[in-house]
């Protein structure tokens, strides 16, 4: 049994497997299938200052080796989270991380401030990359000044571990990652969904109510791996890699490309037990390769120059 512990800045995780925001509810949805206490961390749904109804149905389209979603941050708002949900989930022996979204900087700040008071939330994931909301969201994640404005404002009020989730819909993701590092983020997570679209040829209509939506699943894994590698070569703070991870081999590819930990998203829909299988698979890989700690894999890609 190898050592699976990893450190995301000051935050220690018992293993490097987290669940991706918006794909794992509040964890409870999976309690019948797995022991939630075995996870390295649970990143809960995108949470905003105020209640949001999200986008109209239809919100989903299946695509080759992936899916599009247009949920649009449906959630009951941070106060509801604190009052009703937090008490139910705070006892999990996994890091509970809240994914924070907003349309204006002030909303991000207010939400982060409220979450800062919660003992059992050691970190927030700042979602500056959601493609499914009209205002804000992705706009912050696709320009350096935009990213800077929200990260620096949140950093001022949030003393916990600050993870910034980056958008892949940019020319140069390393540049945005650098901004996050410079503004004091403890880590970056990448990638959020790629902006995509689906069309129904027979009805001649878009499949999603919002026309475009976020692409996730194995289809995007090559892009995610590339971005993790680019960011790894540009910054020093830890990287949490995600995008299309379906099994332990995929996870290990992300570690090699530079990730310290990984998140599993869409795969949970296909196999609600996938997270545990990935944890076990990583352990098996480490044993088979005679590695003592998963940390040895981070950025260990052998590149012949």
């Amino acid at each position: 049994m190898a050592d699976l512990k990893v450190n995301i800045g000051r935050l220690e995780l018992k293993n490097p497997v987290l669940t991706a925001s918006g794909t794992f509810g509040y964890g409870e949805e999976f309690a019948d299938f797995i022991d939630l206490n075995r996870l390295g961390g649970i990143i809960v749904k995108g949470t905003t200052l105020h209640h949001r109804e999200g986008n109209a149905y239809p919100r989903m389209a299946e695509t080759p080796s992936g899916m599009l979603n247009a949920v649009g941050l449906q959630n009951k708002g941070v106060d509801y989270f604190i009052e009703h949900i937090y008490p139910r989930i705070k006892h999990y022996d996994s890091a509970i991380i809240v994914n924070v979204s907003g349309s204006i900087v002030e909303d991000y700040v207010a939400t982060a401030e409220k979450l800062a008071s919660l003992d059992k939330i050691p970190a927030i994931e700042l979602n500056i990359s959601c493609p499914n909301v009209k205002e804000g969201g992705m706009a912050f994640g696709t320009s350096c000044p935009g990213a800077k404005s929200v990260i620096s404002a949140v950093r001022k009020v949030y003393p916990g571990s600050l993870m910034v989730k980056l958008s892949p819909n940019v020319t140069n993701i390393a540049e945005i990652a650098k901004v996050a590092e410079d503004e004091g983020a403890d880590s970056v997570s990448l990638i959020n969904t790629l902006l995509g679209m689906a069309v129904n040829a027979e009805t001649r209509r878009p499949v999603l109510s919002t026309i475009t939506g976020g692409l996730s699943g194995p289809a995007i894994k090559p892009v995610a791996l590339r971005m993790v590698w680019q960011v790894y070569n540009a910054i020093k703070i830890p990287i949490i890699g995600l995008g299309g991870i379906m099994n332990a081999t995929d996870a290990i590819e992300f570690f090699l490309a530079g990730a310290t930990a990984i998140q599993i998203g869409t795969a949970n829909f296909i196999d609600p037990q996938v997270t545990i299988k990935v944890i076990e698979g990583i352990n098996e890989y480490l044993d088979r390769h005679n590695l003592k700690s998963v940390k040895e894999l981070t950025g260990a890609l052998q590149v012949v120059k």
Binding site: T23, D32, Y57, R59, A61, T63, N69, N268, Q273
Partner: protein, 258 residues
Amino acid sequence: MKKYIKDLQVVNKQILSAEYYLLELSSNQPLPEVLPGQFAEVEITGSDATFLRRPLSVHDVDYDKNTISFLVQIVGKGTKHLANIEVGKILNVIFPLGKGFELIKSSENALLIGGGCGIAPLLYLARHLKKQGVKVSTLIGVRRSSQLIELDNYKKYGDVLITTEDGSEGTKGYVVNHPVFENLKQYKKIYTCGPEVMMKAIAKRANESRVDCEVSLENMMACGIGACLCCVTETTEGNKCVCTEGPVFNIHNLKWQI
């Protein structure tokens, strides 16, 4: 209700018509309790064209044989692939999911209306209603008589009424053209599943006659367990997940323009 993820074995496959087939799956452990109206998320093993699981209503459960069955209509890649599965093969299934129908009490009358593949959840419902002493009538609407399947099974639990669009059997027209709609008040409750336009027409008539009515929705789902929020429908209390708050809804809770 506790949800399970299980490898079930195909013990029987029946091709009912060019469009419909029935899969009967058994488990090596006793099957958990399943309520009428609940559904399952079925993995389409070995299909290169599908990515996600597919939601299918529980068509019937036989606790004596320890089998659960699904009635499937071929509409696209996944349902087509599944039609070719062989007896003996394993399917990974997550179930039971969602909330079922609300059963009415003994000696009341229920009208079950299924359009096309919407009859799938009604068999298991009819079985439960009958067991409670409810008098069941099942109205089945199809385009032409060749699409009528499994009538004998439904007849076990009550009358079966039929409409066909081409008039080749039963009343000609849509389900709402059937004479029962002239005296809806005889029913304590209507349960329906089928195309949305059909369910809306029924809901309108039920509403007019002040008869309680539950509909089973078939929204597009990615997870089936309340994790993705893709399957929502607008309700009087805002967007609700069809997979956890439904798939059965009382029409009074939906924001249908009826």
